[in-house]
């Protein structure tokens, strides 16, 4: 039944192609003309915002078809990348730690939609997708994961140290919570240079119990810095559920004097709305805490199966009901911005892109041995780094 329907629609489209060459040209590209449409659409977020010490934004989000389709594409790319990283890790091409972000893509994508590349983002070690969102390429990503020269940190950082300075992505940090003071420092620098940009410092529910968060929040509020602290609450700090780690799991309220907003982190539009609101707030009134209620399908990292502290039913339940990509897919289909086939074609193309990037990254060479000693110090006053044998000196002894 379905097959015949499909074939008839494709048949009618073939007729269209013959009559209208422009449509033919458009149809030859896997995107329809509608995906670049910028007429605004308003969508209601499914879950209301919870607020603390502030009036939250409205539930009606302004978006455009182009944006929705790009959400889908970006999130599908991120999802595909993370799944590919999973297989690469199991094939021992990626070593060490690999923390995957699948399930949480809406946070990265929604945030990007609300801000510019001049705003800064800093996050912890679950940074592959945030890096992509900031404009990183798949090749840089996979090369870095495999420790190759073409990686974004030249292969010297690894999974937890992705950075992209020119688009304001400050990493990529391995120590839980340490990026929060750094993020407040970025906000301080923005205030110092008076450039009306903000910093989003992301951390997890596990890091929310770190003292340095509250220290940095105190200073940020005292000095009125344009800092937005975003708690990506995926409800598990590695293997410890949030109710076992935090006396008060209402992370958006824990800023006390700082206003807070709790957002459905699986809804990219809600995230976008919240981040827009937060940016305006931070520029006028100082720091604000956002809590993104999200979920990760994988375990904490590749060495964690993710099922010893939560049931498989829970994971599949969330996947069925709250998956961010499915939500956007349903929205796109219901608003008739693309057909199911087109979305599937898009996903196929993304899969191919990812595979190509992996193949190219596999061919990329490992860093030279001399790279061991580069970038330890910035070249400035002629400091030479001494190798293990310490034979390098600046001039010859008599």
């Amino acid at each position: 039944m379905a097959l015949s329907r499909l074939s008839s629609s494709s048949a009618s489209r073939c007729v269209d192609l013959l009559i209208n060459p422009l449509a033919a040209a458009a149809a030859a590209i896997p995107r329809r003309l509608i995906s670049s449409d910028t007429t605004p659409i308003t969508v209601e977020t499914s879950v209301p915002f919870s607020v603390h010490n502030c009036d939250g934004p409205s539930r009606s989000v302004e978006t455009t078809p182009k944006e929705l389709v790009s959400f889908f594409k970006d999130m599908a790319t991120m999802r595909r990348m993370e799944i590919a990283a999973d297989s690469l890790y199991k094939a021992k091409l990626i070593r060490g730690f690999c923390h995957l972000y699948d399930g949480q893509e809406a946070v990265a994508v929604g945030m990007e939609a609300a801000i510019t590349k001049k705003d800064c983002i800093i996050t912890a070690y679950r940074d592959h997708c945030t890096f992509l969102g900031r404009g990183g390429t798949l090749l840089e990503c996979f090369s870095e994961l495999m420790g190759r020269k073409a990686g974004c940190s030249k292969g010297k950082g690894g999974s937890m140290h992705f950075y992209k300075k020119d688009s304001g992505f400050y990493g990529g940090h391995g120590i839980v919570g340490a990026q929060i003071p750094l993020g407040c420092g970025l906000a301080f620098a923005q205030k110092y240079s008076k450039d009306e940009n903000v910093t989003f410092a992301l951390y997890g529910d596990g890091a929310a119990n770190q003292g340095q968060l509250f220290e940095a929040l105190n200073i940020a509020c005292l000095w009125d810095l344009p800092a937005i602290l975003v708690c990506e609450n995926n409800h598990y700090g590695m293997g410890t559920a949030e109710w076992r780690a935090a006396k008060s799991p209402a992370y958006y309220k824990r800023g006390d004097y700082a206003p807070g907003l709790k957002v459905d982190g699986m809804d990219a539009l809600a995230v976008k709305q919240a981040c827009k609101f937060a940016k305006e707030h931070a520029l006028k009134n100082g720091p604000i805490i956002l809590e993104m209620d999200t979920y990760r399908y994988h375990g904490h990292s590749m060495s964690d199966p993710g099922s010893t502290y939560r049931t498989r039913d829970e994971i599949s339940g969330v996947r069925q009901e709250r998956d961010p990509i499915e939500r956007i897919r349903k929205l796109v289909l219901s608003l008739d911005l693309a057909t199911e086939k087109e979305l599937k074609d898009m996903e196929k193309e993304i899969r191919k892109e990812v595979d190509d990037a992996i193949a190219k990254a596999k061919e990329s060479p490992m860093p030279d041995p001399s790279e061991l000693f580069t970038n330890v110090y910035a070249k400035g006053f002629g400091t030479e780094v001494y190798g293990a044998d310490r034979k390098e000196v600046r001039s010859v002894l008599p």
Partner: protein
């Protein structure tokens, strides 16, 4: 400040001849400088001798003035003006102020650096001059404000983070090690961290164990940072300026007991080299390597040694990471004996690393094993007599030299 006024004939002399003979330092005044516990104000008064005689002054010290690093000889030697006299903390402030005037990206953050003027007065007056956005009083949250300084440095700002006491920076160790030291490397060179972290450390006057820590031994393994220790007003100002101008993260170690040292420094601007050691007293018999406060104990011992007929070469290594193996190596080649005098603890201190470095590189030139005098491996006690015995005293230095030079 009489560092390399080569044209004018260097240091001041107590002797009635105006000339200076480095090989024969006779000191009519045996009054010791910093040994008495009653005063730790050391006077390093220097006058530029242009052939005139100077009347002896109370507690004047005859120190052959440190020959400045080669790079700075040019700027210093053109002085026709005598310079101006100030205390070490004022020299630090002068350096800081000049850099803040020169570059609007330089800012200071720390506890009580602003309105209070700094707990050791290094930042006094700066908040009034530059405002609250450039001289920032932080709450007592070392981890956070050091992290913030590093974050700000990632964008191009040049913060000078003050630890009220170096020991407090242990709370920020994670930020200093992982973020400050390693970010340039792990980002593949994308981020430079031009931060300066400074503060007083070392054993003071009965400050207790927790406030008498020597953090240079803990920080020395962190890759990516540079460490320097200042010991005179001249090098304090020069190193402060160099540290601020450096693109690398620099930790500047000051000493609680040296803040009130007085010296005459040039009026002209000068910036010292962060990686060079300072030749305090050239000599022939033995190389004594030291830094920070122990320099003064060594110089005091040097007086005794000279009277006994020895000719020690004293080098203030200044650069704790990386070591200036060039200057040190040249000295070892000349004297063939090395004594290291430091305030760090025996285990894992700067002296331990320096011993290893010299042995690895200059083993063939040594006539005797390297001796390293360090503080005892104990928490610094409160009682005055015990505290004295924790650190190296001049008498021990004299004994060590005599032992080595047998």
């Amino acid at each position: 400040m009489a560092v390399t006024f080569q044209g004018l004939g260097a240091a001041a002399a107590l002797s009635l001849s105006g000339s200076f003979d480095p090989n024969r330092l006779h000191l009519p005044c045996r009054r010791s400088l910093s040994v008495t516990r009653l005063s730790f104000v050391v006077r390093l008064e220097e006058r530029i001798v242009s052939g005139s005689n100077l009347p002896p002054r109370r507690a004047q010290q005859l120190v052959s003035k440190a020959v400045a690093t080669k790079a700075d000889a040019a700027s210093a030697s053109t002085a026709s003006k005598p310079g101006h006299e100030l205390l070490l903390f004022e020299a630090l402030r002068e350096g800081l102020e000049e850099e803040m005037d020169r570059d609007p990206q330089v800012c200071v953050m720390g506890e009580d650096v602003g309105h209070y003027g700094g707990s050791y007065k290094v930042t006094k007056g700066l908040a009034d001059k530059f405002g609250d956005l450039r001289v920032l009083d932080t709450p007592i949250a070392e981890n956070a404000f050091t992290g913030m300084g590093i974050g700000a440095a990632m964008t191009g700002l040049r913060p000078v983070v003050e630890g009220m006491n170096m020991g407090f920076l242990l709370l920020a160790f994670n930020q200093i090690s992982n973020n400050c030291g390693m970010l340039h490397y792990t980002s593949g060179g994308q981020f430079k961290i031009p931060i300066v972290i400074r503060g007083p450390g070392g054993v003071g006057r009965q400050l207790g164990a927790e406030h008498s820590q020597r953090l240079e031994s803990y920080f020395q393994s962190i890759p990516g940072i540079q460490m320097v220790a200042c010991s005179t007003p001249y090098n304090a100002k020069g190193l402060m300026k160099a540290a601020i101008r450096s693109e690398n993260p620099v930790i500047l170690f000051e000493h609680v007991l040296l803040y009130n040292l007085k010296e005459r420094i040039p009026d002209e601007e000068y910036v010292l080299n962060l990686e060079e050691a300072e030749m305090v007293r050239p000599g022939e018999h033995i190389t004594i390597l030291t830094y920070s406060r122990m320099r003064y104990h060594v110089m005091q011992a040097a007086k005794t040694l000279v009277n006994k007929g020895y000719d020690p070469e004293v080098i203030d290594i200044r650069s704790l990471k990386p070591f200036d193996l060039y200057t040190i190596g040249n000295s070892v080649k000349k004297t063939h004996r090395v004594l290291i005098v430091e305030e760090c603890m025996r285990t894992g201190g700067i002296g331990a690393s320096l011993t290893a470095a010299i042995t690895e590189n200059f083993h063939d030139y040594l006539d005797a094993p390297i001796m390293c005098l360090s503080s005892q491996d104990v928490p610094t006690p409160y009682a005055g007599t015990l505290e004295n015995w924790t650190v190296v005293q001049p008498a021990q230095i004299v004994t060590a030299v005599e032992q080595l030079c047998q």
